[in-house]
């Protein structure tokens, strides 16, 4: 698999000047709304501590809680399935749908099903899958993955959406009023809700003591998917377990506040039992999570509740757009999750960060995201996943920095300093520094030389 070139991809997004400018502004606006909501909750930092501790407790007792969840879900009359990986998840879902003669599946947004690439899998087997979240629907119709885990089409402007809808839904190409476009999505999706034989959701939380799957949405599409068709499916990552209902309060209080700066999502839905005459199938998915649980430096990334706050605050993400990360997860959380799926493919991502640390500060479950990014750089180096030229240059630089004489020789010719030092600033692409920036003027003498001349005794 080819390495993702985040830098190159970001240059394409930045070239879309209006999209980039709006993207940055919109996500920064979400960050400010989040700050406002944080100030409305005096116990905010206490909640973050609690959320982190509840997650760490649960992850350290995960096998017990998974079994407890399964027991209770079964008592509720739900079917519980276990999927080792994406392939097994897709197979299970397809079998359930095929057994019930399902032709149309309506689904709400689920990063897990994106991760498993469920939609193309089912499409190849003749099942029509309709994404019902507006942003996700836009992305589906445009044949693009979501660029943000909460607002999937945030990189698009209204005109882009009007183009997509005109092309795929036959709407008026000249009408880019978001109200009109949203209404188009509503009226064209409604028939699918009525016709679908099955509805599918993801799961934000799974409560061990009740066997409930909890889904947080704003559009009501998850509830339409779950309450209208007779057959209901929910795919849930094994890390989504929390022990008790009362713990939901801690997470629900922070999830939407962190994500979009509203006190709660419009709908917080708790699915425990199948509807009368219907069935509820819950698929618990591992897909690399159990392995990540054993990674000393990275297991706490499993605390993530997918709020997207780290993306909204990330100054790199806001400029590069989510698609530049080339993976299901983008932004800071994507940088630390994606390499666990494919170290080589995502080996450039940990360098798509200035390590500024804002992501860590906004994380409601206190994942040390920027420190994990730094740690991934080390792991990548140890696994020889750095480009040879970078590796070789660092070896030379390291040697020079360890030897005062060699170091002084290197910068002795100060008039050509930019060609020699700092080498690390220049070696990747030809004069990457100077492409859009002026190069600093080299002074007449180094401080070292000045010191020897003015203060030196030797």
């Amino acid at each position: 698999m080819k390495r993702i070139d985040h830098a190159e991809a970001s240059s394409f997004f930045i070239a879309e000047k209006e999209n980039e400018a709006f993207h940055d502004k919109r996500l920064w606006d979400l960050r400010q709304k989040r700050d406002h909501q944080r100030d409305d909750v005096p116990e905010w930092n206490e909640l973050r501590e609690l959320a982190s501790a509840i997650k760490e407790h649960t992850l350290s007792h995960l096998s017990d809680y998974l079994e407890q969840f399964e027991d209770n879900a079964k008592k509720n009359g739900a079917h519980v399935h276990w999927a080792l990986d994406a392939e097994e998840h897709n197979r299970i879902v397809h079998e359930i749908l095929a057994d019930h003669g399902v032709n149309t599946l309506v689904k709400s947004k689920s990063m897990l099903t994106e991760e498993c690439e469920l939609r193309p899998y089912l499409a190849r087997r003749g099942i029509d899958v309709i994404e019902t979240d507006l942003g996700e629907r836009i992305q589906q119709l445009d044949d693009e993955p979501p660029s943000h885990i909460v607002v999937p089409a945030v990189h698009k402007l209204r005109g882009n959406v009007a183009d997509v809808f005109a092309r795929t839904l036959g709407s008026d190409p000249d009408n880019d009023d978001p109200h009109y476009l949203s209404e188009q999505a509503r009226v064209t999706t409604r028939p699918y809700f009525l016709a679908a034989e099955a509805g599918m959701t993801g799961g934000n939380f799974a409560v061990a003591e009740t066997g409930a799957v909890v889904v947080c949405t704003n559009e009501g599409n998850a509830d339409l998917s779950a309450t209208v068709p007779p057959l209901q499916l929910a795919s849930v990552g094994i890390e989504k377990i929390i022990p008790r209902t009362e713990h939901l309060a801690v997470f629900v209080r922070m999830l939407s506040r962190s994500a979009v700066g509203s006190p709660i999502t419009q709908y917080t839905s708790h699915y425990r039992k199948p509807k009368d005459g219907g069935e509820l199938h819950i698929v618990l998915v591992d897909n690399g999570r159990s392995e990540r649980l054993g990674m000393e430096d990275f297991w706490t990334s499993l605390k993530c509740i997918r709020c997207g706050a780290c993306m909204n605050t990330c100054p790199v993400y806001r400029r590069s757009g989510g698609l530049s990360y080339g993976g299901v997860y983008s932004g800071p959380i994507g940088i630390i999750l994606n390499p666990t799926y494919d170290l080589r493919k995502y080996s450039n991502l940990p360098f798509a960060s200035t390590l500024n640390g804002s992501c860590t500060n906004v994380c409601p479950v206190k994942i040390n995201i920027h420190e994990q990014i730094y740690q991934w750089r080390r792991i990548l180096s140890e696994h020889n996943q750095l480009p040879f030229v970078k590796k070789a240059a660092m070896k030379v630089t390291g040697k020079v920095l360890a030897d005062p004489k060699a170091y002084r020789r290197t910068i002795a010719a100060t008039d050509v300093a930019m060609e020699h030092l700092p080498r690390f600033l220049l070696y990747t692409r030809f004069n990457a520094w100077g492409k859009q920036r002026e190069v600093p003027v080299t002074p007449d003498q180094t401080f070292h030389a000045w010191y020897l001349k003015n203060r030196g005794t030797s």
């Binding site: 309450t227 709908y267 649980l293």
Partner: protein, 197 residues
Amino acid sequence: MSSRKMILDAVSRNQPSAASLPEVPAFDRDLPPPWQQFQERLAGMGGKFARPVPDGNFDALVRELHPDANIICSATPEVTGNRDLSDVREPKDLDDVDVGVVRAAFGIAETGSVYLSEMEFGVNALGFLSQHLVVLLDPTDVVGNLHHAYRRREFADAAYAVLMTGPSATADIEGVLIHGAQGVRSLTVVEAPRPSV
């Protein structure tokens, strides 16, 4: 070996050393008056609020709120409407409902949410296929915050429970807030003390 066993074995093998589970406080010191805060937060989430009717005629109130409605389907005895919920065979039969009416089990001041389950809805899709929703709520049924809400029994008993906060909403196109993305276009909470038993 089953996938179930392989996953549980891998999890057991890899899970970090035991971390303790903290107690969660109720964070309920100095909470504002719940009924007032409920109304403010409901408005903040795009919900509407309606005062009680002096003569207790909720049918008339619903008509007044939605004068253009053809089909009104109520799951609560205070409102009769013109679509009998007991005639509904499948959830999708509710597709043509203009206004659904329910009584919430309780509300949450912190967020302006109402709690609804199959006990209140009768048919759950009533809360989503209807174009508009009217929710009756007794002011004494409002709890202060989500910690209080999630300690209530209802969550352990309900097959399906939803905290509904204002109408369906989306801001997926350029952040423009639009109500009625897929679910109800409006949600109105009506101050309605429970009928004395």
